[in-house]
């Protein structure tokens, strides 16, 4: 399972990458492998304000629907439109090409309360 060091992680298997007050968000390798072939990604609109735990959109595989939850409070300032026509990117490139949204964080210190890669790895082991 690929768990890059530099990212933050949630218990719902989202990742967040902090870039000066912004957080890029996607779903983890574990999440995509559990879902299987992703066939549809429906993301919230740019400009939407979200609280931590609010839905950023849905990811659908052949078998299941999964919500993507916001790791922090903030505003969606960018949405990955490539996923509309190429949802399979989530399976092939979940940490780079298949980022989902960029959030402008209300409180950048919220990020440090998320799991780091080591804690997420331990969390996955405990879940299994």
């Amino acid at each position: 399972m690929n768990i890059p060091d530099e990212l933050y992680y949630t218990e719902n298997h989202e990742w967040g990458k902090v870039e000066d007050g912004l957080m890029r968000v996607g779903i983890t390798d574990y999440a995509q492998s559990e879902l299987g072939d992703i066939v549809f990604v429906d993301l919230a609109r740019k400009g939407t304000s979200v609280s931590k735990g609010d839905s950023l959109g849905t990811v659908e595989s052949v078998k299941a629907v999964s919500e993507v939850y916001s790791p922090v409070d903030g505003e969606i300032v960018e949405v990955n439109e490539a996923l509309e026509n190429s949802p399979e990117l989530v399976n092939h490139d979940c940490y780079e090409g298949a980022w989902m949204v960029v959030l402008k964080m209300d409180d950048p210190s919220q990020a440090s309360k998320l799991m780091d890669s080591q804690s997420y790895e331990d969390y996955l082991k405990a879940e299994a």
Binding site: G36, D37, F40, D42, V62, K63, V65, N91
Partner: protein
């Protein structure tokens, strides 16, 4: 419970799920890849969780005539029928295939894994004729080799020519490596090919042989999308005890010429009064995937609900089966409400796609 192929699935790193108490592969490489391999080449499925119930002896015909919807009296040896057990209201207890091993004497019923125990109890309780009933499920494995390439693979592995078999017939084939095989030209994918019943011990050997010849292992996920693209109903989702074969559009598997069978009176009644709802196909015009339970709306009125929905890997759009009010006709437009979002769909008569797409 596990089929004799469980360890083969593990070796192939299948994702295993619980399916009505069975630990079964849902996919290996991925549902879409496996789906397309079956449509264009050959897919290999472990269907060993299905139940095999033998009904034998001179009382078998009068008994089966009464509990099944097909004419068993005139069924020739080597023939397969799709049929149902119905309750007194005409509702479908289970759908099944019946194999005539010896006319008048020996029949095999292949039933859904999730229903095997219940079916067996039901059959035994209805057996006032005194036919011999035996559950052989534990000693029988079932492999489904499906797709336009299936006949080539079968010819090269078993030197068996499926060209000699018509659809819905089977042959007993004696082999030195796998023992006796029952090769049936049937399936649940619409892609063509065969289903092979064999001894559990021989199953891993044949499984690996067929994969070695180019068959792609496929899980329950692809099995479900393949059957849905053909509009084949799944018991427990699209058909059940509260729906009759007539409502499901499965009239071909009900012989109304037969004098009597369990559920017949209710079907007669339904034919007389007309159907209030029918199982229809839906193709989405909007992006999205309909799921079981989604409401169908026409002109602001709820006209039914989705019983099975997914994406069609061949079409790349959402498709569904749904019971719709009889006033809704083919080519009508309806909306399917997917997580409170109405998505436009067209009513169609399945199949949604051609079953085999030769390369």
């Amino acid at each position: 419970m596990r089929t004799p192929l469980f360890h083969e699935h593990e070796k192939l790193h299948a994702k295993i799920v619980d399916f009505h108490g069975w630990e079964m592969p849902v996919w290996y490489a991925g549902i879409i890849e496996e789906h397309m391999a079956t449509r264009t080449g050959a897919g290999l499925f472990d269907a060993g969780h299905m139940g095999e119930i033998y009904v034998q002896g001179r009382q078998s015909v009068p008994f089966l005539e009464r509990i099944l919807t097909r004419n068993i009296k005139s069924m020739p040896g080597g023939k397969v029928y799709y049929s149902f057990f119905l309750n007194d209201s005409g509702g479908i207890i289970d759908d099944l295939t019946i194999y005539c091993l010896e006319p008048g004497e020996r029949y095999m019923l292949c039933v859904n894994a999730s229903n095997t125990e219940r079916d067996l109890t039901w059959i035994i309780s209805r057996n006032r004729e005194g036919a011999a009933i035996e559950d052989r499920s534990p000693s029988i494995a079932l492999l489904a080799l499906q797709g336009p390439d299936a006949s080539r693979i079968l010819k090269s592995s078993l030197t068996f020519d499926t060209g000699t078999l018509k659809n819905y017939t089977f042959a007993m084939v004696e082999t030195s490596r796998y023992g006796e095989l029952m090769i049936s030209k049937t399936g649940y994918t619409g892609a063509g090919g065969v289903e092979i019943f064999l001894d559990t011990e021989a199953a891993p050997l044949l499984w690996n042989e067929l994969i070695g010849r180019g068959a792609i292992p496929c899980g329950l996920g692809a099995r479900d999308t393949l059957r849905l693209e053909m509009g084949y109903p799944l018991h427990g989702s699209d058909i059940d005890e509260s729906h009759t074969p007539l409502e499901a559009g499965l009239n071909f598997a009900v012989d109304m010429q037969k004098t009597s069978f369990i559920g017949r009176d209710a079907l007669d009644e339904q034919l007389k009064s007309g159907l209030e709802r029918r199982l229809a196909g839906l193709v989405l015009k909007d992006k999205g995937i309909p799921r079981q339970g989604c409401a169908c709306v026409k002109d602001g009125r709820e006209v039914g609900a989705v019983t099975s929905g997914s994406i069609s890997p061949v079409l790349g759009t959402g498709i569904a089966l749904a019971y719709l009010d009889s006033s809704v006709k083919d080519n009508d437009e309806v909306e399917i409400v997917v997580r409170s979002k109405p998505l436009k769909a067209t009513v169609v008569h399945p199949p949604f796609v051609k079953g085999a797409i030769p390369k």
